[in-house]
Symmetry: C2
Subunit: 147 residues, 2 copies
């Protein structure tokens, strides 16, 4: 039993995933904070990756991201309040708005991507480039076709 408990504590995959995610998130946010980026957290990345230059509806983001439209609506509001996104009326549908990324949003994205890559690089150094690449590929494969 002791054996079982300690094996859960040390190598339980679920907890490792959780801890790594928190660590990664925290480090990215710290870097962004030191750039003076405010009013944004990583939860906003539920929305951001779905925004493109053609404009997208809140409902569409909600559907694709798998969260409620109310949650997406709130995230968009916050991002608009901080000038990272812009919304325009959808000419094709008076009920809808289209979400676009702003200039400030693009700048923020460049920073976020750079920090993300730096932290990945740091981690890659810890475990070796090759094994790190294997790890990421394995993760992607699992996500690609798991029930």
């Amino acid at each position: 039993m002791e054996q079982s408990l300690s094996s859960i504590r040390d190598t339980h995959l679920g907890r490792m995933l959780l801890k790594l995610e928190r660590q990664f998130t925290r480090q990215v946010l710290e870097k962004l904070a030191s750039d003076g980026i405010t009013g944004i957290t990583l939860r906003h990345f539920v929305v951001i990756p779905y925004v493109d230059d053609k404009g997208i509806r809140a409902t569409e983001i909600a559907r694709q991201a798998g969260v409620s439209k109310q949650a997406v609506s709130k995230l968009i509001d916050e991002l608009v309040d901080n000038d990272y996104l812009e919304i325009k009326a959808d000419p094709a549908d008076k009920r809808a708005s289209l979400v676009f990324i702003s200039e400030k949003g693009r700048e923020f994205l460049q920073l976020a991507i750079a920090h993300t890559k730096n932290i990945e690089k740091k981690w890659a150094t810890k475990v070796g480039e090759k094994d790190f690449a294997t790890m990421k590929l394995a993760m992607r494969k699992i996500l690609l076709n798991d029930d």
Copy 2:
């Protein structure tokens, strides 16, 4: 920019970690639910791995797990209510209680460990045993010595 956005969407490490963790958690909980296990969720695993046969104090779990003692206290209460844990007065300190795992708790643990291993096995099959092992080892290494 499109390139950047889509690269974030598809391979951003933070989101992969988050999604994998949720997927793993959900699957374990589904399995446990189909065993008739109730009143327990994976957040209780913040507490469970620290319980051993010698008994442990709530405060000590909180310290080691890095969460508030209030949060741990609530988790323990729930686990005790559902008979997965037992608490006894600490003979050495009248302020304190010691947390032990119950018989029901041991049975639950066996199931949880089995399901965890099965899901890991399923994932290992998807990416290959060798790469899966590399992935887990890499994750452990990163957790071991990251700031």
